[in-house]
């Protein structure tokens, strides 16, 4: 069992009366590509948002490289309304803002692309390097951080080259074709030098030929950048082709996990996707 | 009895000015509810209603002037929306707000040009400006009739919003602007109706306010406008009962502060209250939380 990178423990997310994620437990180990699949509204993006600190879970914890980075337990009104289990297990609250989690080394992309629309491709990547800066407000303003600025630009150009985006370096981010915008979002996430990359439906809206390119591309960046990748995806051929392990969510509950071929033949997964066969 | 006669005037002034703020606050809360726009010019429309009355009463009897003022104010409110806000329907929120500031700037300067900066004397409206004595305290009848009139108007408005088709369209628009358009609601006419109602209530508010405080100057609308907005936020922006209750609370507390002698800070208090509400309970007393999806 190689070293564990991400561990989600008893995570439950309840909005008012609706339980979006129910007692989720999953793990992602170093160097793995793990996929999280399930029908629409199964709570996949909600799980991502809990891991990346967009909102704290109603109950449960998240560990990164063995250290607990997120924890919460039902409080106030929620204590009465809480529907999930393992209530007593957690007692104090760790709720870092998303930027603190990114600084730990977890980068993410978004289901609907969120590029910086008034900036060029090159600048979008430069912005992501801001968090690794060593300069402070004064040295940066007085442009005394010449070397740091040069390194940032070289690093950005290097990423652009690896991701074959050199030709659109000075284009406005939003004027790129769809596929390239996806790739720019990934490049921008890589600029934060992550060790764990969370991809939220990277192949959404792509045609089969683009999806194949993306499949090879994800494998390549996993190796080049020594990454661990945790991905939400609907394109089954991409998922089955590239994932080491798969978790399946339905209505917020984990209904199946394992290698691609185990999950493919699991009846519960099929019924979740295709609905139960009415036996007359 | 002595404590009562000493402090009753503050309370009555508070209730009366609170009621007048309520009529303005409703305009803010309705417009914000649908357009998410702080209508900076609303206070100035209130001032223009006062000025129109001053000039109308010099050429015609008062009972003719009052309906004229109501109609003219409504028309101005409607025009402001069509000219200054409709073209910016799809523009970012900041430019719509800047346009609102521009309209307020324009209305104040036009009033300055017409009146020459001279404080105009508001005419005495027949029945409501007479002085009466209540529990030994002399004041104007308007102070007494404002609260019931306000409650009556608000009840009528709430009925309109709850029961009529246009009311339902407004509620839909305030919940979700885009989808209500998809449902075939003519958004522009709903928005115009909102401004019409808001301006009408502001005109009624000006009739009451100026018969109590008769000096009408170009900038007289600014402070009541801001206080009415604070009331709308305090009561829960978007909720009409909230705006009314918030306005009464602000009117009364402002006068109590003056009564206690801290008069220098009566306005500063209103803003301090606003900031406290914005930070600790941004939805105000009755507003519903509106969180945007990631």
């Amino acid at each position: 069992m190689s070293e564990n990178v991400l561990k989600v423990e008893h995570v439950t997310m309840q909005f008012g009366g609706v339980v979006a994620v129910d007692n989720l437990n999953l793990e992602v180990n170093k160097g793995e590509i793990v996929s999280l699949i399930g029908p629409n509204g199964a709570g996949k993006t909600t799980a991502f948002n809990v891991i990346t600190g967009v909102y704290p879970p109603t109950n449960g914890a998240v560990y990164f490289q063995g250290r607990k980075i997120v924890e919460n337990h039902p409080q106030g009104k929620m204590r009465r309304q809480y529907l999930g289990e393992n209530e007593g297990k957690y007692d104090h609250v760790i709720a870092p803002t998303p930027d603190r989690i990114t600084k730990l080394g977890i980068a993410r992309t978004f289901q609907n692309i969120r590029l910086f629309k008034s900036q060029t491709v090159f600048e979008n990547i430069l912005i992501a390097e801001h968090m690794r800066r060593t300069s402070n407000l004064f040295t940066a303003t007085l442009h005394l951080n010449g070397t740091e600025e040069r390194n940032m630009r070289e690093e950005a150009d290097r990423l652009l080259h690896i991701l074959e985006l050199d030709d659109v370096r000075n284009e406005m981010a939003t004027s790129l074709p769809y596929g390239k915008q996806r790739r720019l979002e990934i490049a921008r996430a890589l600029a934060t030098k992550p060790s764990l990359l969370l991809l939220d439906e990277p192949a959404a809206g792509m045609n089969p030929q683009e999806t194949d390119e993306l499949t090879a591309f994800i494998g390549r960046i996993r190796d080049d950048f020594h990454l661990t990748i945790f991905m939400i995806e609907h394109h089954m051929d991409l998922v089955m082709e590239i994932s080491d392990r798969i978790y399946v969510l339905d209505f917020g509950k984990l209904i199946s996990q394992g290698t691609p071929d185990v999950v493919q033949s699991d009846p519960r997964v099929i019924s979740a996707y295709l609905g139960v066969q009415e036996d007359e | 009895m002595d404590w009562l006669s000493k402090n009753l005037p503050y309370l009555m002034a508070g209730i009366s000015v609170g009621g007048q703020y309520a009529l303005i606050a409703i305009g803010y809360t309705m417009v914000y509810g649908i357009l998410r726009l702080i209508n900076f010019a609303h206070g100035d429309i209130f001032m223009v209603a006062g000025l129109v009355m001053v000039y109308a009463s010099t050429v015609m009897p008062v009972y003719l002037a009052i309906p004229l003022v109501l109609v003219v104010t409504v028309v101005i409110g409607f025009l402001v929306e069509r000219v200054a806000y409709k073209p910016l329907r799809t523009a970012p929120r900041m430019s719509v707000m800047i346009s609102a500031i521009g309209v307020s700037y324009l209305l104040q300067n036009m009033a300055l040009y017409v009146t020459g900066g001279l404080a105009q004397q508001y005419p005495a409206l027949p029945w409501i400006s007479d002085t009466i004595t209540v529990f030994g305290v002399t004041t104007k009848r308007v102070t007494v009739i404002t609260p019931p009139l306000v409650i009556l108007l608000v009840a009528a408005l709430v009925m309109l919003i709850q029961k009529t088709k246009i009311g339902m369209a407004m509620r839909a628009a305030s919940k979700d602007f885009e989808t209500s358009q998809l449902m075939g609601i003519k958004i522009n006419s709903v928005i115009s109706m909102t401004f019409i109602i808001g301006s009408f209530l502001a005109a009624v508010g000006s009739l009451l306010f100026f018969s109590n405080y008769t000096g009408v100057t170009p900038t007289v609308g600014a402070m009541p406008g801001l206080k009415a907005f604070v009331a709308a936020v305090f009561g829960g922006i978007g909720s009409i009962p909230g705006a009314v209750i918030g306005a009464f609370i602000i009117g009364i507390s402002e006068n109590i502060i003056k009564g206690l002698g801290w008069t220098t800070f009566s306005d500063a208090f209103t803003f301090a209250l606003l900031i406290v509400v914005l930070i600790f309970k941004p939805t105000g007393l009755f507003g519903e939380a509106a969180n945007d999806k990631v």
Binding site: - | L88, M94, S95, S99, L106, F265
Partner: protein
């Protein structure tokens, strides 16, 4: 066109401007209207750029600029009135509390720092608010600051409702151009630095910026404090320009004026704010003054022209710009020597070294 040549040309342009001013100052009488307007234009350019840093580059819609200018102006005034003049100025507060006077330059910087401190304290509760609530909260704080500075219990420090005057002020227009120029240059360098890029990221998409490791609260606070620091300095310069200050003049109307200058210049364009502030001041305080007084051309009395008409015309112009020229004069583009050079030499912008190579 390499970066070095462009830098040289820009420096040369600035030097030429200062030389022209220097010569003008020697030739035209020093009280001419031109200098008054240029001085005020430079001051309003600085405060417009500082507001643009907030509204245009970080997407924080703040209406508190007049409040921080007031703090800056009062700090400068209170710290520099010569000790022998204090009994004269603080007539009703027997000479006032502070009995020392600082050098004007030191006082200007302290004015900025104290405005920054006020901004830091106000920013703590306020910066979490959404755009329109932030606007109203900052507007509210500016009004509270004004009420406090007018309070007569604080009279020994702020002279209550009375004017602060008799403090030293520089008369030469060069001083105002250099002071405002240096501050604007600093803001431009900040915007072109990595922090500037973080501000623009927050403006474009807060959620994405946070996901890219940008601490929103921290960076919003920096933008707010830096903007208020420079608003404080421009308040001090305004105090110098006017030779007397009173809290009642820093009303919200002043903030609206600055906001309209930023809008006319183009939100998100530094050079736009500078150009439009000079245009605004020259037009409203000088050229359009004739609209206020009766004008008889060949025996025919021009109608409508009487006092107050100038401000009406001005607000109509502003509405036209806000509604039809939403980009303002410069939109988000900057006046850059390269763009002019390319236009002259006909080469299209794309083939040159690119937008970010400034």
């Amino acid at each position: 066109m390499k970066k070095q040549t462009e830098a040289i040309i820009s420096v040369a342009l600035i030097a030429a401007l200062l030389a022209v001013l220097f010569i003008l100052e020697r030739t035209i009488p020093s009280t001419s209207m031109l200098f008054t307007v240029l001085k005020k234009g430079a001051i309003y350019a600085l405060v417009a750029v500082s507001m643009n840093l907030l509204n245009g580059f970080t997407g924080l819609f703040s209406l508190g600029q007049a409040g921080f200018m007031l703090v800056g102006a009062y700090t400068y005034g209170v710290l520099t009135i010569p000790v022998d003049q204090r009994p004269n100025v603080y007539m009703y507060y027997d000479g006032g509390m502070i009995q020392f006077a600082l050098h004007p330059i030191a006082a200007i910087i302290i004015a900025g720092i104290i405005a920054g401190i006020f901004a830091y304290l106000i920013g703590l509760p306020v910066l979490r608010l959404k755009s329109d609530y932030l606007a109203i909260a900052t507007l509210g704080f500016a009004e509270i600051i004004r009420a406090v500075f007018q309070w007569d219990k604080l009279g020994p420090l702020t002279n209550g409702s009375n004017l602060l005057r008799n403090y030293p002020s520089y008369k030469s227009v060069l001083f105002y151009f250099i002071a405002a120029g240096v501050c604007i240059a600093l803001i431009v360098m900040l915007i072109n630095s990595t922090y500037g890029r973080a501000f623009k990221a927050i403006r474009d998409d807060e959620v994405a910026a946070e996901a890219m490791g940008i601490n929103l609260a921290h960076h919003k606070r920096i933008a707010f404090v830096v903007s208020s620091f420079f608003a404080g300095i421009s308040g001090a310069l305004l105090a110098m320009y006017q030779t007397s200050i009173q809290a009642s003049m820093f009303k919200s109307a002043m903030t609206y004026e600055i906001l309209l200058i930023v809008v006319i210049g183009g939100i998100g364009s530094i050079t736009g704010s500078c150009i439009s502030s000079f245009l605004f001041i020259i037009l409203s305080e000088w050229l359009l003054r004739f609209l206020d007084s009766e004008l008889v051309i060949g025996g025919f009395k021009v109608p409508l022209l009487r006092s107050g008409f100038r401000k009406v015309v001005f607000s109509i112009i502003i509405m036209i710009i806000v509604l039809f020229f939403r980009q303002g004069i410069m939109g988000t583009k900057e006046f850059s020597v390269r763009r002019i050079f390319n236009r002259i030499t006909g080469r299209s912008r794309k083939s040159s070294e690119g937008r970010n190579g400034r």
